[in-house]
Symmetry: C2
Subunit: 251 residues, 2 copies
């Protein structure tokens, strides 16, 4: 494993001369969901001048632990995982980031976490130092970053409960349930179609289990007619949301 400086390869799409509302930002698909949503078109010029778009291929490592973090970015499309790893290779996914999320280690020297692309991902990347300066100038930007960081901290704490205290069935059921709530699509027959965005192995790394255990619990939920799925498909159908919630959140 050869370490590479984080995002050091970002060079293209300079926009140095823009002064007014920058065209490529105004039409950006995460204009209203990313941190940029806290800034007016006019103010956005300050960020636009710093930002460079960059495509990351699935599986690519963006940031190695121990590297100085010299960049940060908004996710324009795609998905990233944040992982923590032990010396012998045991791995824990400590966060998943999607379209509109912000990635990067601000105001901290050392990064103990690896960032890897789950799918091909488009980033709008900024030099860290420059981004921190922009934060000084635009209180609304800093406020939104603070809010999102607080929200991530709350998520992390809730997930500690899962990792520390829930059994395998509760973990898997909870994972499916949460996805169903967030990205489930009604199929017209009263069921919810859920596209699991990650492989069984990654679900295992996310839940602190092994692949085999995740598979067995999925089979168990299928046998109980709570969910349904076919071999080789990443998706699954939630047949009985109530029973699923019962497992996750018993009365």
């Amino acid at each position: 494993m050869v370490s590479q400086t984080a995002l050091s390869f970002v060079r293209d799409n300079a926009d140095k001369s823009s002064v007014g509302p920058p065209e490529r930002c105004v039409h950006c698909k995460v204009r209203e969901t990313s941190l940029c949503s806290s800034m007016s078109n006019r103010d956005l010029a300050a960020l636009s001048g710093l930002g460079r778009t960059r495509r990351i291929l699935a599986g690519q490592v963006i940031n190695w632990p121990g590297d100085a973090s010299t960049s940060c970015a908004n996710i324009v499309s795609g998905a990233l995982k944040l992982t923590a790893t032990l010396a012998d290779g045991r791995e824990q996914i400590v966060g998943l980031l999607f379209q509109g999320d912000f990635v990067g280690q601000l105001f901290a020297e050392e990064m103990s976490i690896t960032v890897v692309a789950l799918t091909d991902t488009d980033l709008c990347s900024y030099p860290r130092a420059g981004f921190e300066l922009v934060l000084d100038t635009f209180p609304k930007l800093e406020r939104l970053l603070l809010k999102r960081t607080i929200s991530s901290l709350n998520d992390a704490r809730v997930r500690m409960l899962t990792l520390g205290r829930k059994n395998a069935l509760e973990r898997v059921a909870g994972f499916v349930f949460e996805l169903a709530q967030r990205i489930g699509q009604a199929d017209g027959k009263g069921n919810l179609d859920v596209l699991l965005p990650i492989s069984r192995g990654e679900i295992a790394d996310f839940l602190g289990l092994t692949i085999e255990t995740v598979s067995r619990q999925m089979t168990r939920l299928k046998a109980a007619a709570i969910i349904d799925f076919a071999r080789g498909e990443r998706g699954c159908k939630v047949l009985d949301v109530n029973q699923l919630e019962m497992i996750v959140n018993p009365i």
Copy 2:
């Protein structure tokens, strides 16, 4: 369990008339370690007018999950635990807070976490809405809060690795090791005295284990002459830091 509004009992020590550098803040023992360290004596008046000191007895619940969070506070002395709980009583400690730390849920409506005093604790408490307004006015205060929130998030993520992937011995050894690093006192014979700030039961809740398992691993470390402790004592002596670190962080 009767829910009580967070910190609603805070009434004493008003300081309404102060305009200059507030006396009780200047001499506060966490003046230089709490969020207040980001503010000049002059600016501190804005917070001082809002703050009320409040003593919480060991075991008292400060905040129930589901309550609206109407207060926040700096910890002047003592210690708090943040816990997440399942319906059947399984509990996970998701954070420990000490002197100088900030406690409270800003910019988020629902709190899913319980705050309980581990020891008798003195708080300097603020109405949440007022504190948020002060944040608007003092960018340095907001910046320090952001930095500390980012730091807490990093801690939480590292702890997810422990809860998801480490075995019982690694968890307990890691707990002792970290405390030794942070609050260990050299005893003059080349060993480190560590005062464990919480009971076995709370260590178990912190590490996602049972009391018995924590006890067994402590005994195991003692049998290996890595640590030493006597029955009934909260403290322990680290006899072999290297071996301890070896368990935590094998090469």
